[in-house]
């Protein structure tokens, strides 16, 4: 992998940056320092030498002047004195006065053994333009050395300072030139790459680390660019095929792209059909002669191999293959053949085959790309197959639905008809009941009227038996009338023909209205009716006055009917939060357990009620229940009454019955 290459590769660099740096320093600094030292030493020497030679010339000329005569006429003593004096100068090591024949005349004491490092000054002595001798003075150069040592410190200091300054300068110049400049270039290139310009390359930056870095950078960018190109290609191809759901279209796309983008000269796709049949489904770029020579079967053979091994099959050298095969392929100019199986997990969908004339085509990374593409393609193909299936299914489903809908529509039609019939029927039923009740009522009017009159002794008094019989007729007439009324009510409620006209009602007032209607029976039976005053004034309750009257009337009628004479009925109102509870409690015999579950059923009457000839139709509670529920309330019964003491009744008294119904406050 390219990355590893970069990491593991140790650069073989001839001149490292450090080397270059030191070399540059040496080249510049050492000669410079040498030069400076040389110049300084030379300067110092010059100065000292000048100084000394000047002095020595003075001495010599003085001595020469003095000794002109002295040498000739020789006042040696005086000369000696002068020589002595001069040699007092600590720089003077030795003075020698010689005549023309170089014979020493006068000399001073030698201050040193040898004068190797001494400066020798010779001054000729002339007397009247005639040379009379020579003065030789040896000067000590120790002063020069001294001067030098004191100077060298300064020089060194100077050199160091200069060196540092130079170093800085050199570093600046060198790094500017050698490093920053180039790093800048590298950075610029990196930034460009970062921005996505993968065509960026860094020019050759020399032979050092930076050069290497640049080289690596270029290599890397090239790699990335290649990868990117491959990915883009893969992406493009994948996108192209993913967008298609139709298998034929997908294959067209793939075949086209294989030729166009993957540098294939020919290609084909093989798919495993539903029945397991492996078959070519499409091809591009194959010559007719190849096809005619049964080349397809050959391709299929190779493709099948790839499918068998579950891995890409890349064949480059056909010369090694069996004769017939190679001959045909060489004739078709196929130099490289790639067969890539299309797999999803273990499922083998088919094979993508691409061939090229170019023997260099399909290097490993291309094959890798092809494999990636093949994975995508497999998914897409599977999706397409699924889609095809789904479409098939949905088509079938649609047909089924259509059939079902047709059936449904017909069924609906029938239902509608039936419903219409039912509506008609129910209309007919309530019409029927209305008509029947009318038809029954009219004759009952005269029956009730006449029996009423007869029982009252109109037009003449009846004997006891006649009166008894007449009373039975009268009573049963009333029962018949009740039955008709209740039946009519019930059928109207059930047909939804009763609409509640809700108004805010004062329950106590409605109750007193009902009690007023019942006052005759109440006094007749000597009953005690108690309306318990509510703990707090009752809120108005939205209810239909007529229907509420019907409910109360039935409950109170029942209580009155089913309790013995002198019994007691209590009416109690309770505020129960969202509801008002209305209770009708009596201290009669109550309702037997076996009757309790049924008393709200229509036409249900207890055996006891029937046996005791209490008049009733068995519809009152059924109607009451419907009406209460239409108001959004509930109705229930309790017998025996559990809290008799509240009504001041003895626990051992008759069981009693407590009917409770609720009405919502809003």
């Amino acid at each position: 992998m390219p990355n590893e290459k970069i990491i593991n590769f140790r650069p073989k660099i001839k001149f490292t940056l450090g080397f270059k740096f030191v070399a540059a320093l040496m080249v510049v600094l050492i000669p410079l320092m040498l030069l400076i030292g040389f110049i300084i030493i030379k300067q110092v020497k010059q100065v000292v030498t000048d100084d000394i030679s000047k002095k020595s010339k003075n001495y010599a000329s003085f001595l020469a002047k003095v000794s002109r005569q002295g040498i000739k006429e020789a006042d040696v003593a005086i000369l000696k004195r002068y020589v002595q004096e001069i040699s007092g100068d600590k720089d003077v090591l030795y003075i020698l006065l010689v005549d023309t024949k170089n014979k020493p005349i006068i000399h001073s004491e030698k201050k040193a053994d040898n004068f190797n490092s001494a400066l020798e000054v010779q001054i000729p002595i002339f007397y009247k333009s005639e040379r009379t001798g020579t003065i030789k003075i040896w000067y000590s150069l120790s002063r020069v050395a001294e001067e030098l040592t004191t100077n060298v410190q300064q020089v060194l200091f100077l050199v160091v300072v200069l060196g540092i300054i130079l170093l800085g300068l050199v570093m600046f110049v060198v790094s500017e030139q050698m490093i920053f400049n180039r790093i800048g270039k590298l950075l610029k290139a990196m930034r460009r790459v970062q921005k996505g310009d993968l065509s960026t390359r860094v020019e050759k930056l020399g032979n050092d680390e930076l050069g290497y870095l640049a080289g690596q950078f270029n290599q890397m960018v090239t790699q990335v660019e290649e990868n990117q190109q491959q990915l883009t290609l893969l992406f493009e191809m994948s996108r192209a095929v993913t967008a298609a759901l139709d298998i034929t279209l997908i294959m067209d796309l793939v075949l086209e792209m294989s030729v166009e983008k993957l540098q294939g000269t020919s290609c084909s796709i093989f798919l495993v059909g539903d029945s397991g049949l492996f078959k070519m489904r499409g091809a591009r770029g194959l010559s007719t002669s190849f096809v005619n020579a049964n080349g397809i079967a050959l391709l299929e053979d190779m493709a099948q191999k790839a499918l068998l091994y579950n891995e890409p099959l890349v064949i480059r050298d056909f010369n090694l293959s069996p004769g017939n095969l190679s001959a045909l392929l060489i004739q078709e100019q196929i130099a490289v053949m790639v067969n890539i199986p299309l797999l999803i997990g273990d499922r083998k969908l088919g094979v993508l085959n691409i061939n090229s004339h170019n023997p260099e085509a399909f290097p490993p990374e291309r094959v890798e790309l092809l494999m990636a593409f093949a994975r995508q393609l497999a998914v897409v193909l599977q999706n397409a197959q699924l889609y095809e299936q789904t479409q098939q299914f949905s088509k079938e489903l649609e047909e089924k639905i259509n059939i079902a809908t047709g059936n449904l529509a017909r069924a609906n039609e029938r239902l509608k008809l039936a419903n219409e019939k039912l509506v008609e029927l129910s209309q007919a039923k309530s019409d029927f009941i209305a008509i029947v009740s009318h038809e029954l009522r009219s004759p009952l009017t005269s029956i009730l009227g006449f029996t009423d009159l007869l029982v009252q002794g109109e037009p003449g008094a009846l004997n006891a038996t006649q009166k008894d019989f007449m009373e039975i007729i009268n009573q049963n007439t009333r029962r018949l009338i009740d039955l008709i009324n209740n039946l009519l009510n019930l059928s109207k409620i059930e047909a939804g023909k009763v609409e509640l006209k809700k108004t805010p009602l004062d329950l106590e007032k409605t109750l007193h209205g009902v009690l007023h209607n019942l006052r005759l029976t109440i006094t007749e039976k000597k009953l005690n009716i108690r309306v318990l005053p509510p703990a707090e004034p009752l809120a108005l309750v939205p209810a239909d006055e007529n229907q509420l009257t019907a409910i109360l009337l039935n409950l109170l009628t029942n209580a009155i009917k089913y309790i013995p004479a002198q019994g007691e009925v209590v009416i109690n109102f309770k505020d129960a939060g969202k509801f008002i509870e209305i209770q009708v409690i009596d201290n009669g015999d109550g309702i037997e357990d076996k009757d309790l579950p049924h008393i709200f059923d229509r036409f249900y009457r207890s055996a006891k009620a029937k046996a005791e000839h209490v008049i009733g139709t068995g519809l009152g509670l059924a109607i009451s229940k419907l009406l209460v529920e239409m108001h959004g309330g509930k109705i229930w019964v309790e017998s025996p009454v559990s809290d008799k003491e509240v009504f001041n009744w003895d626990k051992r008294d008759r069981n009693g019955a407590k009917f409770t119904f609720t009405l919502p406050k809003n």
Binding site: A434, S437, H438, E439, R441, S442, P443, L444, T445, S446, I447, L448, G449, F450, D452, L453, E458, P459, T477, I481, N485, L488, K492, N546
Partner: protein
């Protein structure tokens, strides 16, 4: 002079029963057994009160009442409906047409007489 009451009802039993009741209470009674005849009789007899059934052949009690109320001669005569139709709507409809009262059949004779006397004093 005794007050005159017109009974319009197609049910002979009812007519007979009501007639007996009224005559016993000293009212003069005329009767018709269908609507058209009832209207004719009302114009002719100018009764003090009309007791009108609703469900009758040909024209019904409501239609008869409407005609009576449109006629200058009869429109002041109070009408009490005597009907087997006992639903609220029925009652309201008749009262709207100008009936003064509405008694649902079957009724107790006493109830009828109470209502009649209330109107005729």
């Amino acid at each position: 002079m005794s007050k005159k009451v017109l009974i319009v009802d197609d049910e002979p039993g009812v007519v007979k029963m009501v007639k007996y009741l009224l005559e016993k209470n000293s009212f003069a009674v005329v009767s018709a057994n269908e609507g058209e005849e009832g209207v004719k009789l009302a114009i002719q007899e100018k009764p003090d009160l009309i007791l009108m059934d609703i469900m009758m052949p040909l024209i019904d009690g409501n239609e008869a009442t409407r005609r009576l109320k449109e006629n200058e001669v009869t429109k002041q005569i109070p009408v009490i409906m005597l009907s087997a139709l006992g639903q609220e709507g029925d009652v309201a409809k008749s009262l709207e047409l100008g009936a003064m009262d509405y008694i649902v059949k079957p009724f107790h004779p006493q109830e009828l007489m109470d209502r009649v006397k209330k109107i005729l004093g």
